[in-house]
Amino acid sequence: MTLGERWELLVRWAPQLLEGTLVTLQLVGIAVVVGLILAIPLGLARASRHWYIQALPYSYIFFFRGTPLLLQLFLVYYGLSQFEMVRQSALWPWLREPYWCALLTMTLHTAAYIAEILRGAIQAVPPGEVEAARALGMSRRQALQYIILPRAIRIGLPAYGNEIILMLKASAVVYTVTLMDIMGVIRTINSRTYQYEMFFLVAGLIYLIITLLFTWLFRRLEIWLKVDASRKR
């Protein structure tokens, strides 16, 4: 196959590749944002000093961090249909759709990782600052809102950026439940053209470009939030 023919093939499939990229970005984007919202109470509970508050989020995090995403995806997409109760429930129209299953699984998965990042960040806030806030007469709640969380967000931000990239790469398994993300489109193209080497390379390049863009974007964000400035002390 000549270079010209390869180029023609690439151009012919470009719209589908773009669509697949958008599906991937959409899934990852929603998952990491909703995951962050879910992770805040989980992370706070994990940083608690009481074991009974820690226990439930700990088991959740242990399960989701200890098993592969692919397995969790199959557990939700194929597994839930085993129960008559689920199939009769009002949620079934959503739980039947691969898109919602993938989104649900990815969100729950990433929430567990983000919660651990948040816990680490909260515990990394210098105790002197919390004591200073309390000494100024702030209530626990105020100290959390004005001192601990703003500091923890800056401390945890680089790790959150890493988590987004890890999620982007982990999302490549959703094609197994028939979703047309980047990998899903690549699989379709491969089964039509048999140009495995070429299109795997294309997929790799797409992921690589997104990763590099994200890395750059997060570095800008860290500069803007002065993450380095707060860390230098």
């Binding site: 242990f62 098993t67 592969p68 982990a170 491969n190 495995y196 080497e197 790799g204 992921y207």
Partner: protein
């Protein structure tokens, strides 16, 4: 607890395959990691460039893609190599392809761990070896490597836990490990939840065992050292 419909032994076989795959990948991955770290801290600009290229490319592409590439993407290459040895149908087995792909990914992350650990060893150690007239290879094997483990172990342990979960991806290229055994059983019995949940419990059990083993290794590697406590 569960009714496994006689698929219990199959799951045990799958577990054994997962363990073998993860150990093979980690063995090869450690070699990649050491080579990558040596390249990254070398004085040669070309080698440094290669090391940087390896880590940024491999870490920027999904593990799933590496696994598929190692299996489906190497068919014509292997056929071409095989044709020189009189076997034009030569291909990589799922186990070999999976090991290569997982080792490649493990190695890229391990490169960073080893690089940090190598930089933490005082240069005086190497100079002392040179003063004693040891060859570079011997200095690495006898002086650097034994001290490297202690620093690198926590990072490598985390990577091994990640690798364990990535072995599930090799089910996509039909290797009979836990995930695939669970899939077969789920299809045969029409009880997907039971088997995927059983598989999840196996992964969690393996994680706990590995964590305990790592703890033991770390204690052993840290004999004679005090730990910095805040």
């Amino acid at each position: 607890m569960f009714d496994l419909h006689g698929f219990g032994p199959a799951l045990v076989e799958g577990t054994w395959m997962t363990i073998r795959l993860s150990l093979a990948s980690v063995a090869l991955g450690l070699v990649f990691g050491l080579l990558g770290a040596s390249a990254k801290i070398s004085d040669n600009r070309l080698l440094r460039g290669c090391g940087g290229f390896y880590t940024s490319v491999v870490r920027g592409v999904p593990e799933t893609l590496w696994v598929l590439m190692a299996y489906f993407g190497t068919v014509s290459l292997m056929n071409w190599i095989g044709s020189y040895f009189g076997n034009p149908h030569l291909t990589l087995s799922p186990f070999v392809a999976g090991t290569l792909a997982l080792a490649l990914c493990f190695g890229a992350y391990a490169t960073e761990v080893f690089r940090g650990a190598l930089l933490s060893i005082p240069p005086g150690q190497k100079e002392a070896g040179q003063a004693l007239g040891l060859s570079n290879a011997r200095i690495f094997w006898r002086i650097t490597l034994p001290q490297l483990w202690r620093v690198a172990l926590p990072g490598l342990g985390n990577l091994y836990l990640i690798l364990l979960k990535d072995t599930a991806l090799v089910s996509l290229i039909t290797l009979d490990e836990i995930m695939r055994k669970a899939q077969v059983a789920a299809n045969a019995t029409k009880e997907p939840f039971t088997f995927y949940f059983a598989a999840a419990l196996i992964y969690l059990a393996l994680t706990v065992i590995i964590m305990a083993a790592l703890h033991w290794f770390e204690r052993r590697a840290n004999r004679g050292f005090t730990r910095t406590e805040l």
